[in-house]
Structures are given as structure tokens and as C-alpha cells.
């Protein structure tokens, strides 16, 4: 079955979405991620969606709920590399992803997370 790999980098989990997301894949990712956060007691999750050029409301909600579930499990979430078209679509859909941190690319996202960790 198709899966999106979740890579562990120290205290962080790195998820790079490089295929077209469909609903089943999104659900699987959500489950896997919850599992991994608890098993590795990760402090942060970094989701790279720079290769994602199409979203629907379901994927938008998935991003929100991943962020929600991570924060309940005491992990920060940063979404990085959103394409302009994706950002516009989400705004038009009314999904403003309140409470989700964002960064321009993986590097900036890492910097942001390190800073957050240092502040804690």
C-alpha cells in the first residue's frame, strides 16, 4: 500500500509529501504520524508540501488536524514550502490554518523549530 515516509531527525519528524495526495493517503499519514509521535516522543513535526500543487478542502483540513493532534501530543508543527496556487486555494476555501506555523522552505522551517525549542 502507498505510504508517505516519515523520517526521524533527532527530535524532529520530517514528512515530505511528493506525490498527489488523495483522501486515503491523507488518512494513513495522519494515523502513521500520530503513531510515530508517540513512539519516538518527537518534539516537532515538519511537513514539506513544496511538491504539492493541488489541494482540496480535505487536505486542508488534514493539515489542520495534524497540527492539532501534534500539539496535543506536545509537538510543534511547521508546514513549509506551500506553493502560491495552494495558498490562494486554501484562502479561497476559507481555510486559514490558524495555529499552524509556516515557513518558506525546509531550512527556514528547521531554523524556526530550533528557535522554538531554545525558547521552551
Amino acid at each position: 500500500m502507498e505510504r508517505i515516509p516519515i523520517l526521524r531527525m533527532g527530535d524532529f519528524l520530517l514528512v515530505t509529501i511528493q506525490v498527489d495526495m488523495h483522501d486515503q493517503l491523507a488518512m494513513t499519514l495522519q494515523d502513521d504520524l500520530a503513531e510515530r509521535i508517540s513512539s519516538t516522543s518527537a518534539k516537532a513535526v515538519l511537513i514539506d508540501i513544496s511538491a504539492l500543487d493541488m489541494v482540496d478542502s480535505f487536505i486542508g483540513r488534514m493539515i489542520s488536524s495534524i497540527s492539532g493532534l501534534s500539539s496535543i501530543m506536545d509537538a510543534e508543527t511547521v508546514v513549509v514550502g506551500m506553493q502560491p496556487a495552494v495558498a490562494i486555494t486554501l484562502v479561497e476555501l476559507g481555510l486559514t490554518l490558524q495555529g499552524v506555523s509556516t515557513a518558506l522552505n525546509v531550512e527556514r522551517g528547521m531554523q524556526l523549530l530550533h528557535k522554538r525549542m531554545a525558547d521552551k
Binding site: M82, P84, I88, T96, L97, L104, R108
Partner: protein, 283 residues
Amino acid sequence: MAALQQRTFNVIAKKEHELLDSWTGELEASGMYRNVRIEELRQQTGDFIRLLVAGAAQADSTDLRASNWEDMRQFLEQLSHSRVLLGFDSQQTAGFIFSFKRPLMPVLQAEYADEPAMLAEQLWALSELIDQLGLHTVRTFQKSREAVIKRQQEELLELSTPVVKLWDGVLALPMIGTLDSQRTQVVMESLLQRIVDTGSEIAIIDITGVPTVDTLVAQHLLKTVTAIRLMGADAIISGVRPQIAQTIVHLGLDLQGIVTKATLADALALALRRSGLTVSKAV
């Protein structure tokens, strides 16, 4: 419905020069076509008469949509297009065709002098045909005009949304003119694309040139700011004039979560501070 007789067109063809002279003379005398050179006018009137005769000779139909009027339609489209470029109004353009009726009358009268019933019938039918031609000209004239306006609008849209790089990692977008949905879309797209291209973390939207801010404009601004945030950059809105601030408060608009500054300078200062840069005077 009276059908146009071939005989009518034959007489037009026969009296072509006579018609041409009086028609061109009339157009000239009206003084409406001063920007058109006389040779050109003569050429156009000549073409018109020839195409009229040729079109009628091909088939009986007086329906302008029929294939025998194809050349005539093209000629009229070109004519009205050139009139648009010369800055004529619709009346002058249509008047060109309609004024053909006047020289036509005496010619037909002479031809059908003995048959008043026939004369009336032919005059009526011909007049209807010319009306159709005139209307077609006006229609294409309007279309050409609309095309010109549309192109200008598009150009304006592109010209009025430049994205400026103020500093390394700081982009500015000076907005001029009213914000509507279409412009917001263009602005949003070009700004977001530049953010990706340059990897800038701060975008300043300057609304000094936006005359009024109402609920719709505020909503568009909010959308743009949210999209910028989703991309992982920060947005600052600058150039909020006192009247606009008053309007925003009076309308009860919620701009919470948006950083606003009075001037572009303030916004740049904030952007530099956030990037960890300081500006100091050289000693």
C-alpha cells in the same frame, strides 16, 4: 416580403461612377470624415458598391448572415476597425453606410419611373439591406472598441501591480487604485510568486494609493495577508492614512492579526528590525 430584383443591382452597377461621385461628395460635404484621406474614402465607397453588387449577384438572399455576403461582412469589419483606430464614434461609422441611401434614391427613381409600385418595393427592400449592413458595422465597431478597452484594462492591471524588492528578504507592493476581486487575484499571485522566487520573509503591502477602504477591500487585504502567512512569510500593511483608519474603525472592520503601519518607512524599519538589521548613521 418584397424581393430585391437583379435589375436593381444592375442599375447600381451601371451607374457606379455616378453613385460614387455623389456619395463621396456627400460624405465630404458632411465634414465628418476630415481625418480620412479623400482617396481612401473614395476607395472605400467604391469597394462597398462593388461588394454590394457582387454579393447580390451570387445569391438571392438578403440575409446578411448568408455566405454570399461573406466578403461584405469582412469589408465592414475592417472598415469599422479602422474607424475605431481613427477615433470615430459609432454615429460617424454607421452614418457612412446609411448616407449611401441618399444618392441611391434618384438613381432608382429614374430606373423605375414608370412603375411606382415596383419602385416602392425595391426602395424598401434595398433600404432594409442597407440598414442591416449599417447595423453590422455598428456591431463590429462596438466589438472593436470593447477589445481596445479590454486590452487597456489588462495592461493597466499589469502595470499597476509591480512587486519591488526593498531589501534582501523584504518585498514591497505599492498598490495604486481601487482593489477589486480581479486585481486582488493578480496582486496576490504575483506577490506570492515573487516571495517563492526570492525567498523573502517579509512582504509590505503599501496602500497609500488606494483611495478608499471598504469592507470588500478589507476582505481582499485579509485574504492576501492570510495567503502570505500560509506561504511562511510575514505581511505588513503600510500607508494607512488617517481618513482610512477612521473609515476602518467606523465600519467596525476586524484587522486583528495584521500588522499595520502608517508609512512605508515605518514598515521598512520594522522589517529590518525583524531581520536583525540595524541602520546607523556613518560618523
